[in-house]
Structures are given as C-alpha cells and as structure tokens.
Amino acid sequence: MKHTLAVLVEDKPGVLTRIAGLFARRGFNIDSLAVGESEAPGLSRITITIDGAEHPIDQVTKQLNKLINVVKVRDLQPSDTVSAELMLIKTRAEGPKRAEVMQVAEIFKAKIVDVDRRTMTLRAVGTPERLEALREVLKPLGVLEVVRTGTVAIGREKS
C-alpha cells in the first residue's frame, strides 16, 4: 500500500541528506519526494510517497521523528487528502500529430507551454494516476521527455 508522508522539517543544512539516508539505511524505498517552503518561516515541508507494503509504516515515522530537525510527521490517509503532481511532457507533434496533441491537451486540461516545428511541451497537473494516463495517451505519438515534481499533498479540513 502506498503511503504519503508529510514531514515538516527545520530548514537547516543537511536535513534532506538525513532523511534520505534514513530511508536508505532502514531499507525503505522512496517513490517520490518533493520539498519546498511551508507556511511557517524557517520550516520546510517534504512530501514523501513510499510503498509501505514491506515494512511497517510506523517504524518509518518513528525513525523520522527521532531526527532532531524533524518537527512533525503525518501519515496522510488517501481519503482525507488532496494531492497533486505537476508533469512537463515533451512529445513529437509534426504534421497531423499536432492537432491530436492539442486535442489531448484540451481533454487533460494540460497547458501547451512550448512549441517548435517538430515538438510540443505540455504542462499537466493532477493525480499521479491521471498524469500516467496522459502519458499513455501521448505514447503512440512519440514522447521525448518527461519531468515530474513528485506528489505534494495536504490534509482536507474536516468540519
């Protein structure tokens, strides 16, 4: 089962190394990792998605909590979480392919951010599954390059 961890950390040198090192050392595989500033000055939030099937997730969160620079760890439940990922995808778009790419972009609400004679680059935002679907659709046209940010996630407010 996939888990999404939201890890609030102090913005100090070496924090990312400590976290990455901990995962490697304890035999956990990181699927994706996204880091950025949080709402609080001096604190960053890291979103990590891991496959928790092989190892108990609570051991990971406990070990993360032991790191001095880690302020808070949340294991986000899919049902209570809004998540998104951004993907840039460069595809072939020559001749008749061009209209097809534009159509696909329209369907997936992806924005065309770069065009040249032979290629087009789309920017899409969505769940990892939706981005995967977009890639699948473009595949037959000739996908040249894919860049993804990794998932960022936030808990839903319950009222």
């Binding site: 050392r25 609570d58 406990k62 909590n65 032991k66 001095i68 620079n69």
Partner: protein, 569 residues
C-alpha cells in the same frame, strides 16, 4: 565579552560543566589547543590515537553519567573517531565529539586533511552540526550537550571549520534551545501505566527484564523498589548489568546468548515480561518468535522507535525509565495482591539458579579464565569498576563477577568493539578516581589499542589491565570449534609480545601469572601499585564460554553448562 571562536569553544564547554577532554591535536584544531592552554577548569588528556580519545570519553560518560567529550582534527583525526562514535551510538552513551574542519572557503575542494565528517558519521550519531559561523558556536555546543544527554542519550558530532575558531565574536552564554523537533517524552501515559500495574499485579510468573536504559536514566532504586514490592525476579541485559544487585535474591543475572540458564528459563516460562530500557536485541532473544511466547509484554522505553521494533508489546509505555517505574510502583501499591503471590514462581527460579549455576573445570594444574574473574571479584569485594574488551573474557566477566551498582560494568555491548577496553578504562578511572578500575581484556583486543597504555602512564591513571591471554581470538575460535568443524582459520595469535615486558617498556607495572595460586597476589600487587599495571594471565587456551545459545535458536536451547553439560576433561 570579545573573544576568538576557539576561546568561545572553551568557555562554552566550561559553561556546560565539562571537566575533561580527551583528544589529539592537528592542523585545524591548533587554535582550540592554543585556547586550552589558558583554560582554567578543563583538563586535557592527550591520547595516542583518536580512537583512544573517543573510547575514553565514552568510558568516562558511562562511569559518571556525565557527557564525555573528545577532540580530533579534520580528515584522519575525525575518521579515527568513527568506530568510537558508532560504539557510543549503539550503546546510547552521551558523547560530544568536536572535530576540526578545513577553512569554510575550502570545504568541498578536497583540501588537505579534508573529509566530510558530518556525512561519514551521519548514520551513527544522534545528531551532528557543521558550524557555519563563529557566532553559532556557543549555541551549538549548548544544544549538543542537551541532545547528547537527554531522552535516549547518544553521540553528537560538532564539526568546526578552522575559520570559525579564528573569527572574533562577542561571547554570550546561551539561555535556551531552539529545537522545535526535539521533545523527548519523559512521563509515561498514566492509563498505560495503570494497565501495566494491573497486569503485573495479576501475573503469576512475572519477570522484569532490565536494560541499559535503567542505568542511563538513573532508575536502579526505582527498579529495586518495584521488584521488591511485588517480589518479581529481575533479569538484566549486558548493558543492564549493575542496574539490579546480583547478590539480591531476586536477581536472575544476565539473560541471553551467554546468560544464566535460570534467567533464560524464567523469561521463557513467564506469563508477564516487563521490559524496561531494553530493546529485545538478537543476542538477548535468540529466535524471536519463541521469545517469552507465553507472556504478556509490557515495554517501557524513552525511544518510541524501540517499541514494537522487534517485539510488539501488549502495553507500550513511552517514557523515562525512572519516572515510569516510580509511577508504576505507586500504582501497584494501590492494588490488592497477596504477599506471596509469586512465591511458587520464585521458588522455581531459585531451583533453576541452584541447579544451573555457572560452572567450569576446576583442574588446578592450569589457569582457568573463569577463576581469574572470580578472584578479581573476591579481591575487589565486588566493588570495582569493571571495564571489558570484547570476546570470551567479556562474557566470563559478565558471568563470574557480581555487579552491585549501576555504572560498575562498562562494555561495548551493541557494536562489540574490540580495543574498547583499555581507553574506556582510562576514561572511567578519570571519572571515578575513588574506585579501583579493572580492565578485563583479551590478548587480541588489548593489542588493538595498547598504545593507550602510554596515555595512562603519562597522565598517571592507575588502572589495572587483566589480560586473559589464551593466544587465540577466542570467541571466533569458539564458533569455529562449535560450528565450523574446528577449522581454526586465522584465530591463533600465539605469536605475541611479552605483555609484562611491554608494560615495563611503557613505564607501567608488568606481571605474568600462570598458576592459580598466584592470581590473588598479583591482583593485590597491581591494585596497590597505584600506577598503571598490566597482568598477563596465561589462561587455558581452549576454554569455551558456556552455556551458549547458538545464534538464531531459542534461548532455552543452551549448549554447555549443566543444561547440556560440557564434558569435564
């Protein structure tokens, strides 16, 4: 007050109550060593190898409960600390390691004697700092001491670029911490404590399983109170030796691979196991699925990550052992319970203890290593600080010496670091000058750090080194003997120096003993000498440590000893 960074380091260490530093100078720590010349309350012990510095700081910390501090230069100085830092990490010892680093502007350029110290030590520290500017020094040192000594203690590395030592700053003593992510849980959850109290009071065959956490939290008195209130037998781990007096009738001694048969049987048959400050290490549990399989498990630990790591307890309690045990005793005292609820169980344990007491071949024509430990126990009236190296002698030291108080037994448990004994004994003696300090070592381990004998002589640290010399790397030889068809690959080290002469060459007292009748006199002479002494005990070369649970087997499947008695020769 205006001062240099290096002077601020000294001022900060003194402000933390640090009295002694173990270290070795080098290029980028010259400013610090210069400042040390003017330090009023800091003593520096010059070792002969940085590994000696970190083990000595570790031994000092274990003997006193204070933070041990060591210093090394950048590059090779820092890498020489690695084994000792890992040793302290595995045994949760509060050590602060100050390492020099190259100039800030040279970091990352493969400068002379540059190594990525915080990177190299990352997996073996509780925390580490690479100091960014001189003005951070006092706050970093303040935090490092706090982190090293609170919660689950552990080593903290402070890597200091030489530019930070040279820069001027205005020193101000720090007043607080800025550690939003570090708040160890001290008090246990009262509901959990009540549940544990009830489980304890209801148990018919309870066992307390005490680890190093009891010692590091200073919980020996609380442990004893609880054990006596409920009349529960106490088994300790290697790290927990001394947390409960071994001459107490409730003591089962050490459990695990080379532990007391009685302790292992008791844990196997208990219906309630209360683990406190212990981590269900493989050397303790043997085959995990069979360990205490009939028992409800209560696990008290200050480190939440230890709870449920190996064994999933019925009642987990996160908190400091001293606080939790005190509350637990208070709760238990309010519960109804007949005074002799555990009488039958204690009688059973006592019968095991009597039947399966440690024993060895008493042939007087040769010197039994176990006999040497018994004599050390007798001559020091079970009241010395015993430091060990790693191997067979270490296990005999757990079996045949009777530990009575916490911090009396000092040994590398988790990492199993050969070479630990001598430097750790030096640190322990400096921390506890009032006690006789005996380093029980093997001929193999002693040779790994024997240069520190010079440190002891130089700084007038009167320790006694008892080498149980069997001419073998005995513990490995024992495994080869028992599990590898007696194919003794590279474990015979009969070619070795004359240890007494070697001691003499260092300016220490050297003695050699080969007859059982001479052991006592040699020990008394060495202790009375009041200077470093080495006794080379020529013990039986092929003695094995029994009983023994082969790795991965159930802890009741002990070989040797009376449970499957080794043949007398």
């Amino acid at each position: 007050m205006k001062m240099k960074g290096s002077e601020a380091i000294v001022a900060s260490l003194e402000a933390e109550g640090c009295e002694v530093l173990f270290g070795f100078p080098g290029g980028v720590v010259i400013p610090l060593y210069d400042a040390l010349l003017d330090a009023k309350h800091l003593r520096h012990i010059l070792v002969r190898h940085e590994q000696g510095a970190v083990h000595a700081a570790d031994g000092y910390a274990r003997a006193t409960g204070k933070v041990g501090v060591c210093v090394a230069t950048s590059g090779p100085g820092a890498t020489n600390l690695v084994t000792g830092i890992a040793t302290a990490y595995l045994d949760s010892v509060p050590v602060v390691a100050l390492t020099g680093q190259v100039r800030s502007d040279l970091i990352g350029t493969d400068a002379f004697q540059e190594a990525d110290t915080t990177g190299i030590t990352l997996p073996i520290v509780k925390h580490s700092y690479l100091v960014q500017k001189a003005t951070d020094l006092s706050q970093v040192i303040h935090e490092a001491f706090h982190i090293a000594s609170t919660g689950r203690p552990g080593p903290v590395v402070i890597d200091i670029p030489v530019t930070c030592s040279l820069d001027e700053l205005t020193y101000k003593r720090p007043t607080g911490f800025d550690l939003p992510g570090y708040k160890p849980t001290v008090r246990g959850h009262i509901k959990q404590i009540r549940a544990a109290a009830k489980a304890l009071a209801d148990a018919e065959r309870p066992v307390l399983y005490a680890g190093g956490g009891v010692i590091s939290s200073g919980a020996a008195a609380e442990l004893s109170e609880l054990a006596h209130l409920l009349k529960v037998p106490v088994a300790t781990t290697l790290m927990g030796l001394g947390s409960f007096p071994e001459r107490d009738p409730l003591s089962l001694g050490m459990l695990g691979m080379h532990g007391n048969v009685a302790a292992n049987y008791a844990v196997h048959e208990c219906d309630l196991l209360l683990a406190v400050g212990a981590r269900f290490d493989d050397r303790v549990t043997g085959k995990l699925s069979a360990f205490a399989s009939q028992a409800k498990v209560v696990h008290i630990d200050v480190d939440p990550a230890e709870i449920g790591k190996n064994v999933r307890p019925l009642i987990p309690i996160v908190g400091d052992a001293r606080h939790v045990l005190a509350s637990l005793t208070k709760e238990v005292a309010t519960l109804e319970r007949s005074a002799d609820a555990t009488a039958a169980w204690l009688a059973k344990c006592a019968a095991w203890e009597q039947h399966y007491a440690f024993d060895y071949d008493h042939d007087e024509s040769t010197l039994a290593p176990q006999f040497v430990i018994e004599e050390i126990d007798r001559v020091t009236a079970s009241d010395a600080v015993v430091v060990t190296d790693v191997g067979q002698h270490q296990m005999w030291a757990t079996q045949y010496y009777h530990y009575q108080w916490p911090r009396q037994f000092i040994s590398s448990g988790g990492l199993g670091t050969m070479g630990f004994g001598l430097p750790a004994a030096i640190g322990a003696k400096i921390g506890r000058p009032d006690k006789t300090v005996i380093d029980i070592s093997g001929d193999g381990g002693f040779q790994m750090t024997m240069q520190e004998l010079m440190t002891a002589v130089c700084h007038d640290v009167p320790i006694v080194v008892a080498i149980l010399n069997n001419g073998y790397l005995g513990m490995v030889r024992q495994w080869q003997d028992l599990f590898w068809n007696k194919r003794y690959s590279c474990t015979c080290i009969a070619a070795q120096p004359d240890f007494a002469k070697l001691a003499d060459a260092f300016g220490a007292l050297g003695l050699t003993v080969s007859a059982p009748g001479d052991v006592e006199e040699a020990l008394r002479t060495a202790i009375a000498a009041q200077r470093p002494a080495v006794i080379d005990f020529k013990v039986r070369p092929e003695e094995n440590v029994f009983p023994m649970v082969p790795a991965g087997r159930e802890i009741t499947e002990m070989i040797g000893g009376k449970s499957g008695r080794r043949k007398r020769s």
